[in-house]
């Protein structure tokens, strides 16, 4: 396939998604309000040091925001009857998937960068490695945006069903990834479980970048996030292709 046509398709799909889906209630509720309430529920009145909690909080915001757009797009398009028209354009399923991932990643990047900038301005934050922080921010948004698109792969025309599935996948990940309970305080079984979660590696690399104590070497974090991104994209492509005709 001509690469310029592919990139054009990805960019137009992302633009379309940004115009239509960023202000949809499920994106705002599951992407913005949930992490905020989780933060408040955990932080308020417990005397927790915000500096210590900030890397995990940033990872949680990035995780929720990046993965909130993807699950909505495909079922919404199938329900409103626009999916068939979208497929009739000079695009492939992979073009559409990458456009959806890009829209989710930009949403996550914008919100988590805003949180990062706001916290940096108001709190005295010591960065150990800004470049690593930016790389992991970028990698994390793509990884979890790809997870969001994968969650949208089941053949459903009902956005609420997919959003429910999305909550079923995302909430357990938040609790096993060292956000509320540091990895060092988890039991052995908990630690092994945590290593299966891609979010663990983002929390870990944020801890390192923002002056905390990491649990695994940074190259492992980067490799794990990259590998999960590739796996999510591959599996999303497989299932979206498999379920294509069921949703038309």
């Amino acid at each position: 396939m001509n690469i310029s046509v592919f990139i054009r398709g990805v960019l137009v799909t992302a633009e379309k998604n940004m115009m239509i889906y960023y202000n949809k209630p499920p994106v705002l509720i599951f992407g913005l309000l949930f992490p905020m309430f989780l933060f408040l529920a955990f932080f308020m009145g417990r005397g927790i040091d915000i500096h210590e909690f900030f890397p995990a909080f940033l990872a949680m915001v990035l995780f929720f925001t990046s993965s909130s757009v993807g699950p909505l797009i495909t079922p919404w398009e199938k329900q409103s009857g626009t999916y068939e028209r979208l497929l009739s354009f000079p695009v492939t399923i992979n073009t559409i998937i990458m456009g959806d991932v890009l829209a989710g990643a930009i949403f996550g990047l914008f919100i988590s960068s805003s949180v990062l900038i706001a916290v940096t301005l108001f709190l005295d934050t010591a960065f150990k490695s800004i470049s690593l922080l930016l790389v992991s921010l970028l990698l994390g948004t793509f990884c979890f945006a790809a997870l969001g698109v994968l969650i949208a792969a089941p053949a459903s025309k009902t956005p609420s069903n997919i959003m429910m599935l999305s909550s079923l996948v995302r909430f357990p990940l938040v609790f096993i990834s060292g956000i509320f309970i540091p990895l060092t305080e988890l039991s052995n079984a908990g630690k092994y479980l945590a290593l299966l979660s891609p979010l663990t590696y983002l929390v870990d690399i944020f801890h390192f970048s923002i002056g905390g104590t990491p649990s695994v070497p940074q190259y492992i974090d980067i490799l794990a996030l990259s590998a999960y991104t590739c796996i999510f994209l591959y599996v999303a492509s497989y299932f979206h292709k498999k379920n294509l005709s069921k949703g038309l």
């Binding site: 046509v5 009857g81 068939e84 000079p90 695009v91």
Partner: protein, 307 residues
């Protein structure tokens, strides 16, 4: 020269055969009608022809290109109005057209110029900045067809383009189809509306249970069966179907306060009916004869109505 060539297409969903060894060819500049009853496999066939679905076997060439091997290049030549081809209701017509134009790689200037032309032609210019969600069904369909032709495709697939529309929208869309064809665009028209196919199409293909049952010009198809001529009669009293039992009448249908008699011999049928009603003291209020109809051929070939 053929611009759409389908060879031996077959598509199954589990045990059900949606498309059964379908082969057809559509020439450049032709308006090709694709007719069939509900569930005949029309939409599946169109989805395969436009590269949305992969057939289990068979090939599709669009402008000489295999759509399975090079879907992007083939799709660039095609405009499509899918059966459920809604536009984005959260956007304005201009935004919908702009996004569509960008998918086809049109420049900003071309998109602006074409959008203005199309929205004017389709009577939507004044509403071009309103959200589509505030539009009627007919207006939405007009935006949809504008999206299908913004890039001036050489082949246009239309799946039920006028289904359920008001007269004004229907006429505008038919006019657009005729104009596109006049400019050399090949039209592949899927429809339930036999009269529409009769008026617009150079050739018609009838499909039933995934198989082609007839393919010819509307004029030739009309004469597929000898007894497709008919006689429409209104009586002054209610009559019973049992009253008429003649070898000349192949079928009779009630149509409102009239009866329609299908026959191979109009003259003998008229004489027979007149004799029968005279005997019963029934008057004939009106009587009209009709030539062979495409609708009747369609009904016979697709088995929608049993005799």
């Amino acid at each position: 020269m053929a611009v759409i060539e389908a060879s031996n297409l077959t598509k199954r969903y589990g045990d059900a055969v949606a498309i059964d060894d379908l082969t057809l060819s559509v020439g450049r500049g032709e308006v090709f009608g694709f007719l069939g009853p509900n569930g005949a496999g029309k939409t599946t066939a169109v989805r395969i022809l436009t590269g949305l679905l992969k057939p289990d076997s068979g090939t599709v060439l669009i402008g000489g290109m295999d759509i399975a091997k090079d879907p992007i290049k083939a799709k660039m030549k095609v405009g499509m109005l899918p059966e459920t081809g809604n536009v984005y209701v959260d956007l304005t017509p201009k935004q919908n057209l702009s996004l569509t134009g960008k998918y086809y790689g049109l420049s900003k200037d071309t998109i602006r110029k074409r959008s203005d032309e199309l929205l004017s032609e389709l009577g939507l210019y004044e509403r071009s900045n309103d959200l589509v969600k505030t539009f009627s069904k007919g207006m939405k369909q007009r935006v949809s067809i504008a999206c299908a032709i913004i890039h001036e495709p050489s082949i246009l697939f239309l799946d039920e383009p006028t289904s359920g529309l008001d007269v004004q929208s229907r006429r505008l869309i038919i006019q657009i189809i005729a104009d596109m064809n006049e400019r050399g665009c090949t039209i592949f028209l899927t429809t339930h509306d036999i009269e529409e196919a009769n008026k617009l199409c150079n050739r018609v293909c009838m499909i039933n249970k995934g198989k082609i049952v007839a393919m010819d010009t509307p004029e030739n198809l009309r004469y597929t069966f000898e007894d497709t001529r008919s006689l429409e009669v209104a009586f002054d009293k209610e009559i019973s179907r049992d009253l008429f039992n003649s070898k000349f009448i192949s079928r009779m249908d009630r149509q409102g306060n009239k009866w329609r008699f299908y026959t191979i011999d109009i003259d003998s049928t008229i004489r027979y009916i007149v004799t029968m009603v005279e005997n019963k003291g029934i008057k004939i209020n009106s009587m009209t004869t009709y030539g062979p109809s495409l609708e009747e051929v369609f009904v016979r070939l697709t088995g929608v109505i049993e005799k």
